[in-house]
Amino acid sequence: MTTVAWVVEGTWTGCVDAARAWAPAEDDVLLLHVTAAEVAEAAAGALAGLMGRGRAQHSPRVEQLTAQGAADLLAAAVQRLGRPARTEARSGRVEREVVAAAEGARLLVVARDGDRSRLGPRSLGAETRFVVDHAPCPVLLVWPDDVPALASIPPPPWGQEPTLRP
């Protein structure tokens, strides 16, 4: 079986640490990075708007840099994990690629990437929310660094509390 850890800039250290702690010893670990295709698309769109100026130098460079960035990040993640792991770099619609890559996995490790200053709400970014919502396997959802204090949960909205009583 495979434990998949979704490695993202900004939250990957916490995610890799969780994979180290929770992936069963007999499992394969797959470190997954997905590049948003829109990034290269935005660069290509701007270039297309120039109608021909500067085309030669540019187009492949942003894609090369994207690929190289993903490779560097995955290499750093493997090093941090400290056990053998496979890596996979995908590109496309991020949330859908992650869900597709998690098919048949024993566990998908995901880091929270929304508002990290309190225990919710909105502790998940849009892509992460989609992944948690659509994952075809169990999901381990972790805080990427320090867990906010319990007191950081906002008080319940006014007037709703009585309905919670048995």
Binding site: T2, V8, E9, G10, T11, W12, T13, L30, L31, A36, A37, V39, A40, E41, A42, A43, A44, G45, A46, L47, A48, G49, L50, M51, G52, R53, G54, A56, H58, R61, V62, E63, L65, T66, A67, Q68, G69, A70, A71, L74, A75, A76, A77, V78, Q79, R80, P84, A85, R86, T87, E88, A89, R90, S91, G92, R93, A101, D113, R116, G125
Partner: protein, 441 residues
């Protein structure tokens, strides 16, 4: 100074083809020129369509030869100015200005996404205003991407910022955008006056853009890179120094543009002097060659601009000159100017901002310089309304490619999840190769 309005005689000369037929022919040739420029069959330069189309409108008598030559003569200084600015930007890149700026971006932001974005805004606005939007799209975007990757920050906000700033920040100076150069001639304003009038729209547009980015990319901007000890960005001790000479030349060239206004010297001459000042040491030091300078000047593109302008002129003289004034109000009240901006923005999204500005200029120039600038704001900022700057062009391109079943215009499609990644503990090289092994869904 800044040149007089384009000399355009509206006298109708009877050619071999006239009236409705001439109009139809002109529109067909214009459409063909634009289609070739967007699709670029077999990677041919965009001039392949526009230059023969320009010759055809003259040969078929849609546009008299004298008018065509008029158009070319009126456009020549503008095209020369554009070439000079393109070469100037290329030389700055060869002198290491962009690499140094990228390194500074990494060290000064310290892996914090909001300062990083703020600095990209400052850098992108300055580069676009001084070295034109081409420099931002072609030279700055890869540098910013590289800096984001090295900072281990999510690259989406800064790369999108570059694409958007190329449009928004190109409002300020006549040199910032080819559309500005064209409008500058038609408006009859001086360089300094143009900049003074556009300064407020420039600042407002940038402030709105920044606010939208902070909100739209709130999630991405909340994720700081991990500190270096915890696997964050590697600290680069060998930060390249900011090259002083190119910066000095740029500042002096910019001052020269302003000064030239007062002594009635064409700013294109000042740009040419700036090019010489940078090119001579670069060629001597073998950082540039005559060939690289020529290639930076984008001669096929310049030919495209001239060809397109002649075809647009033919279409206008054959009938569009009656249509455009109906769309554009003949007044300089605020609502009228806003309408001009909206019309220009829509047109820029439909056909790219270059043909849009060529079509609108004769009409708005007749209304007055406020109308010219209003149209300019529309064509420059308009492409940003479609989420990705200049998306319209890309969409056309994709649509056409998709019909032929080819590669969708340099956009990486998702790699099909066949075979699970590369085995063996994350060999960066093989990850990179798989990434480049793209397939189209």
């Amino acid at each position: 100074m800044g040149g007089s309005p384009l000399p355009r005689s509206r006298k109708k000369e009877e050619g071999a083809v006239s009236g409705g037929l001439g109009e139809a022919l002109g529109v067909a040739l214009l459409a063909a020129s634009l289609a070739v420029a967007v699709i670029r069959p077999r990677g041919l330069p965009e001039a392949t369509g526009a230059v023969p189309a320009a010759l055809l409108v003259v040969v078929l008598g849609v546009l008299p030869l004298t008018d065509a030559l008029d158009e070319v003569r009126a456009l020549a200084p503008t095209v020369g100015f554009l070439a000079a600015v393109l070469v100037l930007a290329d030389l700055c890149e060869r002198e290491g200005l962009f690499t140094a700026a990228g390194a500074r971006l990494v060290s000064a932001s310290g892996g914090r996404p909001v300062p990083f974005l703020g600095q990209v805004f400052v850098l992108g606005s300055a580069v676009t205003a001084v070295l034109s939007l081409d420099a931002t799209v072609v030279l700055l975007t890869p540098v910013v991407m590289d800096a984001a990757v090295r900072s281990r920050l999510r690259p989406k906000p800064p790369v999108y910022a570059c694409s958007h700033l190329a449009n928004t920040a190109s409002l300020l100076l006549p040199v910032s955008n080819l559309t500005n150069l064209l409008a500058f001639r038609a408006s009859g304003l001086s360089f300094v006056r143009f900049a003074a009038l556009m300064a407020t729209p420039w600042v407002v547009a940038l402030a709105v853009e920044y606010a939208v980015f902070r909100r739209f990319f709130a999630t991405d901007l909340r994720q700081p890179a991990a500190p270096a000890a915890a696997g964050g960005p590697a600290v680069d001790d060998t930060e390249p120094r900011l090259p002083v000479y190119p910066v000095v030349v740029l500042v002096l060239t910019l001052a020269g543009f302003g000064a030239a206004s007062f002594v009635h010297l064409d700013p294109a001459v000042v740009a040419a002097i700036g090019v010489v000042a940078l090119a001579v040491p670069a060629v001597r030091g073998r950082r540039a060659t005559p060939g690289s300078l020529l290639s930076a000047a984008a001669v096929p593109f310049l030919a495209f601009v001239v060809g397109l302008a002649v075809v647009v002129r033919a279409v206008q003289d054959a009938g569009l000159s009656r249509l455009v004034p109906k769309l554009v109000p003949d007044a300089t009240t605020l609502p009228a100017l806003l309408l001009v901006t909206v019309v220009a923005a829509v047109l820029a999204n439909l056909v790219n901002n270059l043909p849009a500005v060529l079509m609108l200029l004769p009409t708005v120039a007749a209304v007055g310089s406020p109308a010219v600038l209003a149209a300019l704001i529309g064509v420059n900022v308009g492409p940003n309304l479609t989420y990705v700057g200049s998306l319209a062009t890309l969409l056309w391109k994709r649509l056409l490619r998709a019909r032929r079943g080819g590669d969708p215009g340099g956009v990486p499609a998702a790699r099909r999840p066949d075979g699970a990644g590369c085995a063996g503990g994350g060999d960066p090289g093989s990850v990179g190769r798989r990434e480049s092994d793209r397939s189209v869904r």
